[in-house]
Assembly symmetry: C2
Homo-oligomer: 294 residues x 2
Amino acid sequence: MPPHTVKIGLVQMAMGHGKAANVAKARRAIAEAAGRGAQIVCLPELFASPYFCQVEDPALFELAEPVPGPTTEAVAEEAKRHGVVVVTPVFEQRAAGVYHNSLVVLGPGGETLGMYRKMHIPDDPLYYEKYYFTPGDLGFVTVPTPHAALGPLICWDQWYPEAARLTALGGAQILCYPTAIGWHPKEKAEFGAAQLAAWQTIQRSHAIANGVFVAAVNRVGHEGPAGGGLDFWGHSFVADPFGVVLAEAGEGEETLVVSVDLAQQETVRRNWPFLRDRRIDAYSGITARFGAAG
Amino acid sequence: MPPHTVKIGLVQMAMGHGKAANVAKARRAIAEAAGRGAQIVCLPELFASPYFCQVEDPALFELAEPVPGPTTEAVAEEAKRHGVVVVTPVFEQRAAGVYHNSLVVLGPGGETLGMYRKMHIPDDPLYYEKYYFTPGDLGFVTVPTPHAALGPLICWDQWYPEAARLTALGGAQILCYPTAIGWHPKEKAEFGAAQLAAWQTIQRSHAIANGVFVAAVNRVGHEGPAGGGLDFWGHSFVADPFGVVLAEAGEGEETLVVSVDLAQQETVRRNWPFLRDRRIDAYSGITARFGAAG
């Protein structure tokens, strides 16, 4: 198979309190990534604001906006300026009292190519997302772009093999996970390394199980009170369809630009034909909450 | 939660051509593991013979036997002598022309506690299993034992998140994968490290996604013609419910005895409550062969 190279840009950034400043920073990073040859640029989850889900405060719903809205329009302008695809997370207000943790895939003309609403919503100390976000109702989607079929998912989704599988079955070549994950400072010494390793392992496993590329884009920086809050751990990375990490960021602000050869998907799946042997006659128990499958 | 410690023995062995000698070697290893405190002992896939699936030869069906049969009876005797549970793979003849790649879980009194027939059957160069094995029809099973609820799976199953998920939903605390996986000698230099890493990564991911222990038990040694054949890579291991490798064997014969604390399952699942947030309303597309989910 002839190579089919695509360049992906991962914007690993720290967020401040002003939405305008965060959006401006993201636009500069898109421009930088495009300048370095990126054709598809991914921004982190809820990149326009701090990770506000550390508290439950009704005033914070003010951060939400419609889609399309100011944030997607600003990013669309930048996408069009550079002719790139941009995976653009947004805190979406869909209706009065109906909010989602969403993303829009913007095309190289600034047009909307597709949308995804986070399906799996966490709720854990300092990640109080069930308060803010209605679970997504668009299902798992694959978005055709001029460069690759993208499978967008968001953060907590990354712990669910079902999400990766269903997106890959939809034809995605690259799973893209905008993320906001970090350490509780008090846990970091004891559990930090295992948490980061688990996060990377589960996502590499989606690449392997499905024969797809995986791009994970996290934020960085400390948010919240000193000694408390969250240390967002960065480590954005791209894995190939056999789970090999092609590039990985550190724990500071950084824009990774990574070349991937989409032809590798065929090579890997031909040698490790997992999709061929799925026992679709025996998987219906996956829709059970718990309990023995028939 | 008070600790609940269970000791698992993993028999990583090389096989010769005589079935009696392989079974005798396995019995010695069971005795050794029991002597070191193991309560549950796992043998490798098809441990009673070389990995005969390197060729398609109708004469090799002679290696099969009924269940119960000589191999399970011999192992049951050893299980009873030492009062241990033994996961006992067997090339099962079920009826004329109907063969399975199976395993029996034998109890500490030598009794049969459960049975599993390999669900996912590979067919790749030197792994011609579709010729020999009818796909399993027992589904994914959890076998209660006096020490833990075991979820037995076999080799190629380990690449399927659905298999791990369905077994975990059935209540398994420990997934156990008897395995026969190795390198093609000519590929080893270029791809060997990535293949081993992928094999370990996908299984660690099952531990993480499901909050279960995972025990993988591989064979070792070269089988087949010099320069060809397969180098079975060993590296049997046990991972905890967050994917941390607790112990790992090398590439030679070795019996690992590993203590696991089953109470850790509750701790890990409480902190990383992935089962809580599954979108069972949106997973039905898992039973499709390919194509976009609804």
